[in-house]
């Protein structure tokens, strides 16, 4: 693994403990612009923790995370401005239930990016149109299906014009028939060149869309590679074991 200074995100020796229990034990990763990194691994292996460290929702115990050349683990860095450039999509959607869909999308741009309301709404409508939900702009989140909620959550993050999108098992809370519509949106996003880090159990998606597959086990990256070598020629026994169970 070579260190390249042009990486969008560069993670070095990332460690994270909860109450003295080490969950991430020195993770190194490089995410270049346009990469779709897919993170897989068993439950409890530390995938979410890794992803959540990237935008400092979890504060790393040690290690550095360079985002666009800035070490965001530095206490003097204003993390809020960097988070604006890192969209995040959660398993549980986490839409704001007290706001309409449209307001969910315009809140960030108007309050943080200084966009006018009209401008933000115009952009929001374009985004909603892209995911086929323009006619639900005035609905409230609890009037939507899970798949619709997650598509809204994705465009809410996109409304901030992020440079990278982080996904934590975006389809795991969905009924099976709704998984497809969300994956479709993510595929389109990847094709459009968005840099993405995706924690998922959807191996089909990983194969098809991933540029870089990462296998996390027990708090470290055990194996990493292109979908082809990763799935067709896994090297470590632990990955082989894992793949034999999920494929």
């Amino acid at each position: 693994m070579t260190t390249d200074n042009n990486a969008l995100i560069s993670v070095k020796n990332l460690c994270k403990s909860f109450d003295g229990v080490e969950v991430l034990k020195g993770v190194n990763a490089e995410i270049d612009k346009g990469d779709v990194m897919v993170v897989i691994g068993a439950s409890g292996s530390g995938k979410s923790t890794f992803l959540r460290c990237l935008n400092l929702l979890e504060e790393p115990t040690s290690g550095t995370i360079l985002f666009e050349g800035v070490d965001i683990t530095d206490k003097n860095v204003n993390i809020n401005t960097h988070r604006q450039k890192m969209g995040m999509v959660f398993q549980q959607f986490n839409l704001f239930p007290h706001m309409t869909v449209l307001r969910n999308l315009t809140l960030g741009p108007t309050k943080l990016l200084g966009m006018s309301r009209e401008e933000a709404e115009k952009k929001a409508m374009e985004l909603l149109d892209r995911v086929g939900l323009a006619e639900r702009a005035d609905a409230y989140p609890n009037q939507l299906s899970g798949g619709q909620k997650q598509r809204i959550a994705i465009v809410r993050a996109l409304a901030m014009n992020p440079d990278v999108m982080l996904f934590d098992e975006p389809t795991s809370a969905l009924d099976p028939e709704m998984v497809g519509e969300v994956l479709e949106v993510m595929k389109k996003l990847a094709k459009a060149g968005m840099t993405m880090v995706v924690v998922t159990h959807e191996m089909g998606f990983a194969r098809e869309v991933g540029t870089d597959i990462v296998f996390v086990d027990d708090g470290v990256i055990v194996e990493q590679g292109s979908p082809d070598e990763f799935f067709n020629n896994p090297k470590s026994p632990r990955l082989r074991d894992f793949l034999s169970k999920v494929l």
């Binding site: 809020n80 988070r83 986490n94 704001f96 309409t100 309050k111 943080l112």
Partner: protein, 243 residues
């Protein structure tokens, strides 16, 4: 029968008409309402501030080490708030009122200010717990989603957490004010002529218990019903305005 009715009329006259006693009752009602409103305002502001300290502490610092001066201040503030809530909730409001009046306001003996403050401080402790539980009841995912967009802690509170929390706690808040109205009935202990005091005064002057006490009870009941009505109306409006 004739005698009974004449007796009733006489009692009624003594209770309400003689010496303009209805006016005394009205003044008493005014005092009760004034104490309630000022104390509620103090309680809301104070309770909100305490709840912000306590929930900020819980979310950011609970079980962790202080890393800078801000953390230390937060920790100290949280400790003060905890002591305050423990003391207020652990002692009767009438004792708090008397301490305020006979000890803290010993020199001025300003009953109304003492009442404003002690009922306000008392209500603040309960309102703080209501606000805090409302804030803590909001799913953590809401907080994280907001932070992930780039909102800082206070923006997250203002735009995301508090609007949702407020709707959840409205019933509890309404109940707190209903309790407060009734609790002010001990204001007579510090020489204030509130509704209860006036009612009791009329009872002792006229040797008529029935009319003065039932009247006072009915007035409290009407206030409480009125507050309940407003509370329900506001809740309905909030529920209709969004989801």
């Amino acid at each position: 029968m004739q005698g009974f009715i004449e007796g009733l009329v006489a009692s009624f006259t003594k209770t309400f008409i003689t010496d303009n006693r209805w006016l005394q009752l009205l003044n008493g009602l005014g005092v009760t309402i004034m104490i309630t409103i000022v104390a509620a305002a103090i309680g809301l502001v104070l309770g909100f501030l305490i709840a912000m300290v306590r929930s900020t502490y819980e979310m950011r610092l609970s079980g962790r080490k202080c890393r800078n001066a801000g953390d230390v201040i937060l920790k100290i503030l949280n400790l003060i708030c905890n002591i305050y809530i423990t003391v207020i909730r652990g002692t009767p409001v009438v004792i708090q009122l008397m301490i305020m009046y006979f000890i803290i306001f010993a020199s001025s003996r300003n009953g109304i200010i003492a009442a404003f403050l002690s009922f306000g401080l008392n209500s603040g402790a309960y309102v703080a717990e209501i606000f805090r539980s409302g804030i803590m009841s909001i799913d953590r995912g809401q907080f994280e989603a907001s932070r992930s967009i780039g909102f800082n802690y206070s923006q997250t509170m203002i735009f995301i957490i508090l609007p949702q929390a407020f709707k959840n706690i409205l019933p509890a808040l309404g109940n707190e004010f209903i309790v407060l109205v009734k609790e002010t009935s001990v204001a007579g202990y510090v020489a204030l002529q509130d509704l209860t005091y006036v009612g009791n005064l009329i009872r002792s002057r006229t040797y008529e218990a029935f009319f003065p006490l039932i009247t006072v009870a009915l007035i409290y009941l009407i206030i409480v019903l009125l507050l309940t009505f407003l509370q329900k109306k506001l809740e309905r409006r909030l529920r209709n305005s969004d989801h």
